[in-house]
Symmetry: C2
Subunit: 638 residues, 2 copies
């Protein structure tokens, strides 16, 4: 007996199968069914696997009530985890790194606020409240929180298409805070509902292309400041931007160009130096601040003081609500992607865990708080976090130190920054975004996976020529299409025996694998779904036809048996089951035996439930291809 289908008489409660059948001529093992479970139990497990893959509550198991309370506090406020062990040594490291990232955060904050078409001071406000909130809730130790280029850019683009920031600055500001509020709500809900996997659909390929496209557009837009052009388009597509640059050559001013290019070269050089020698991180960190201070004319007035409350500026009705929500969701998702990826990168380097869903809640709450205190969308910045890491940050206290430095700036140094010339901001922005053009990754995509590269190109050109949301949507569409294509047209392979072993491998790849006479052994390398069941049936019949033609041509013995290796068939649906059943019928019509090898647990369960196995008799299922070949060959000899 080869298979074991426990009927009601077999007492299905326990294990569905025993050991090997000792009486058989060739040793064969039984294919087993997974332990029986109720629908509710299966649903529970499936949902747990979808929403709690990391088993977030495992720390709470088998603990006293008091211990559970402590762990719970630590769970929701990681500050309780590292706080008790915090030492003076750690503080020293954190102060150094905090001051370093502050010197980067202040000019970048101002520049990014400009990118979002917001007053420069909003960039500083955003570098004060959100980092403080994050330091209490966040679980990454190296994340440097504040405004980032991508989210600023997207917010600037989307909002200024509907509202002019020069003509209606108040409405624009309200829109920005409301969008930030919705970004926070969206982020926190994703984390709270444990739907964090949604951001996984922005694949690396998509992001590489998207960020490069955005960086090109932003850099070109900064030519306005760098060339001294006064009349410039507000649009974000490549063509209007380029035509703005070259249709106003009369506005180019050589003084601006010389100064701007000079600062740009300075900033790029210092950036290059710190990239080559991470120990010299302070050069690239100090250069922008130095540039700003150097070039700033020390006159003018800007409101000193801390973040004013802005919760009264949020609106939840009116014609612009939809835009605010849309902008919030898009900037929210993009800033989450950046923040979580950065957090994970540095956590992997220092071998600690960052909980994606908890991070989402932390980032979301910090944006909600930010939107009520004159801040716009913030997240963990890649460039500043890298500087933070290299400067030796040990805990999230470096964010507190940074916030303190920003506090001092806000209270005492603010007037300094009012007249920071546009050309300096342009040079800072270009330096920041140029690093987003990751041509090495793009080249690697091309080398390793052509379709990934196509997705990357599409998001690049989509952003460049159409718009940011459409570019992203196209790239996500291509990524999903790629998954579906792989499911719709899965790989099938003929297997051969590697001499002297029980191993069966792809005949095309393993030259020392040999065909087994009278057998055709096929591996299907995909789940069998409605989307590919017709294809697979056709493809398998073609394998059979080609094998028979080849055998006839080479005067070999006839084909007698087709073995389907189901190891890689990780799932099956009702259409797939019908395919198996039809294949069996068609092959039996041709007097060919058809057996299955190694169906995995849930596939076996479905095959069993659908009763498709019954016509196979009791000998259509084997645990391995080797046992199938041995058993069937020996049955022919008898």
């Amino acid at each position: 007996m080869v298979i074991n289908i426990p009927g009601p008489a077999a007492g299905g409660g326990g294990s569905a199968c025993g050991g090997a059948a000792a009486a058989a001529a060739v040793e064969v093992h039984r294919v087993c069914l997974p332990p029986p479970r109720t629908t509710v139990e299966k649903l529970r497990r499936r949902l747990a696997d979808i929403f709690f893959p990391d088993d977030p509550l495992h720390g709470f198991k088998d603990q006293t009530r008091f211990r559970k309370l402590v762990i719970g506090l630590q769970f929701f406020f990681p500050i309780f985890q590292w706080g008790p062990d915090y030492s003076f040594e750690l503080l020293k490291s954190d102060v150094v790194s905090g001051v370093t990232i502050a010197s980067l955060a202040i000019p970048q904050g101002i520049s990014y606020a400009k990118l979002a078409n917001l007053p420069p001071i909003i960039g500083l406000y955003s570098s004060f409240v959100p980092p403080l909130i994050y330091s209490v809730l966040g679980s990454s130790r190296h994340l440097a929180v504040g405004p980032v280029s991508i989210a600023s850019l997207v917010m600037g683009t989307m909002l200024s298409e509907a509202v002019s920031y020069t003509k209606e600055p108040d409405l624009y500001l309200k829109l920005a805070f409301t969008a930030t509020f919705f970004a926070g709500i969206f982020q926190a809900s994703l984390g709270f509902l444990r739907l964090g996997f949604i951001i996984d659909f922005l694949s690396k390929a998509t992001l590489v292309g998207f960020m490069a496209g955005a960086a090109v557009i932003v850099s070109l837009q900064q030519l306005k400041g760098l060339l001294g052009i006064v009349h410039f388009t507000a649009k974000m597509q490549l063509i209007p931007v380029l035509s703005s640059v070259f249709h106003h050559t009369d506005e180019w001013s050589w003084q601006t160009i010389v100064m701007g290019v000079g600062f740009l070269v300075l900033l790029l050089t210092t950036r290059q130096i710190s990239m080559k020698k991470p120990k010299l991180f302070w050069i690239s960190a100090a250069a922008p601040l130095a540039s700003v201070v150097l070039s700033t004319i020390l006159i003018g007035y800007l409101p000193k003081g801390l973040n004013p409350p802005s919760s009264n500026m949020l609106f939840f009705s009116g014609p612009h609500l939809a835009l605010a929500i849309k902008t919030g969701i898009l900037t929210g998702i993009l800033s989450l992607t950046e923040g979580i990826a950065v957090g994970r990168t540095f956590a992997a380097m220092k071998n600690y865990q960052v909980d994606g869903n908890k991070e989402m809640v932390a980032i979301g709450l910090m944006n909600i708080a930010g939107s009520c205190s004159s801040s716009y969308v913030t997240t963990g910045s890649f460039s500043r976090s890298a500087v933070n890491y290299n400067a030796g940050a040990k805990t999230v206290v470096s964010n507190i130190v940074m916030a303190a430095a920003v506090l001092i700036t806000l209270l005492f140094l603010m007037p300094l920054f009012h007249y920071t010339p546009n050309l300096i901001l342009a040079a800072i922005i270009i330096t920041a975004v140029i690093g987003l053009i990751d041509y090495q990754s793009a080249y690697k995509l091309w080398k390793v996976d052509k379709l990934d590269f196509v997705a990357c190109l599409c998001s690049f050109f989509g952003v460049l020529f159409i718009s940011v949301p459409i570019g992203l949507a196209i790239a996500v569409g291509i990524s999903i299409f790629k998954i579906l294509l792989n499911v719709t047209r899965p790989n099938t392979a003929a297997l051969g025996n590697i001499r002297g072993t029980q191993i069966y491998r792809n005949l095309n790849i393993y030259k020392d694998a040999v065909r087994v006479p009278s057998f055709l052994i096929l591996a299907v390398e995909a789940p069998i779904y409605f989307a590919n069941s017709t294809y697979l049936q056709e493809r398998i019949m073609r394998w059979v036809r080609e094998e028979e033609e080849w055998l006839a041509l080479n005067n070999q013995s006839n084909l007698k048996c087709v073995i389907l290796d189901m190891t890689a068939v990780t799932a099956i649906d009702t259409s797939g089951i019908d395919t198996i059943s039809e294949l069996r019928k068609v092959l039996e019509n041709r007097s060919l035996k058809f057996v299955l090898a190694n169906p995995v647990g849930n596939v076996m369960e479905k095959l069993h439930k659908s009763k498709v196995l019954e016509p196979f008799g009791l000998e259509g299922l084997y645990l391995t291809v080797g046992e199938a070949v041995a058993d069937i060959s020996s049955s022919w000899k008898v």
Copy 2:
């Protein structure tokens, strides 16, 4: 040496690997790379596999030019294939079955035309020209061609939402022909461009739900005729239809009800008889015709004569063009799905091949021709094809016979049908569509695959309460979501060794599988993509954590090595490669060895190209889990 990574020095031209390494202490086999191929060659193969999975031109290989011409003719006009061997014996069978399906096609044609809100004679025209075209081009021998319920229903619904068929009958007719034309164009293009797999995305589960929903709606709508209600809604949703039925109880007429229910019972009984005894197929075939003849009052006038040309009624501009195209695409896709599925079903029963893409071209051309000769959308009908098959049809000539019978009707018997009472048509329609409610399949879906059942329910209720296109769209969306869910949250399993063998299987399922001390062997049952790479990394780290906790609790020896069984990892993208590389880093930080077992061809190729294997040293890859365990254990003993 365990792996073999051919560098440029290794001369990558030939086979990428040789036999087993003889010097090793334990016998281990090398993991091989697929034979090197250029990007163009790989693209060519991939495209061939996407568009020509069935290798349609294989018959042309190694043939003389004349033979190629003959095969080509047979390829495009299957009539040349069976024509020469056609015999009087075959003709006898075909005449019997042709007359039988004609007796079904005439009343059904009239009824379905009514379902599409078209004049009854259009139903007969549609049963004349299209079957003739199909008999020349089609490759199925049992398909009975003509109007079908689903396509008629969808056309009627979609068109009458925009144009009233009572107030503007001419415009409505033009719309119907134009939609038919576009349906044909769409179908023929799908086949010609070999994009037939698009219809695979209508999974069986979706169709079961959709057809049941449509059948319920249509049956309820027929209550108008059956109860004699005069004022009835034109809407297609459940609620307006039911309220129409019960808000006009004063219009119910008991005479109509008695007659209608009488005929309905007669038709359902005969249908039941032929279902139980397929040999009595003629009862269910003759009953509708008999009912029509019996009940028809022999007065009135209807235009005798053949299909008038209608190409002058097609329009390619104007405000209704978009609706015509949309209706054409939807009815086109639905009628294709039915026609191809029916063709495949009967082909499988008689063991011949139906080429999906060629069938699409045939059905498409027949609809284009139909739209120019006063026919609306036609395809192979399931119910009539079954009768055709049971009546002993041998070739597509039965369609020609049927067309001839319709011809006689059109020329001589047409006046008969003008005054067929609505209640008879209603009874015929209900009988036809009631068979679409496939509750047995729905129950099987529930038993075998809960998510398939949900998709089925959604399309059922979507059609019932919202609309036909939305119901279908929801169901397709759920089907795709199901694929993505399976990719996003793939199964992982810990493997154990089945005693006395080299076989490793899921510890949860195989009770005689045992853990291998110091090893954690994990199988990933899915491709590793951007959409699941984060999840898999988390999940694998959780396996490691849980294993270490379990070992500590049971005082077992420490975990030393993690083996990832990649057999079922059928594809990998750049995010997946990063995951492998990060897993290795994280596990090495914990002093755990990390090796891969049996990466399949294209995965191996990508791993190699991305150079992620290099840090593995020369011993991180094994052909089987068994060899990995043996080799690594023996290296520890030394």
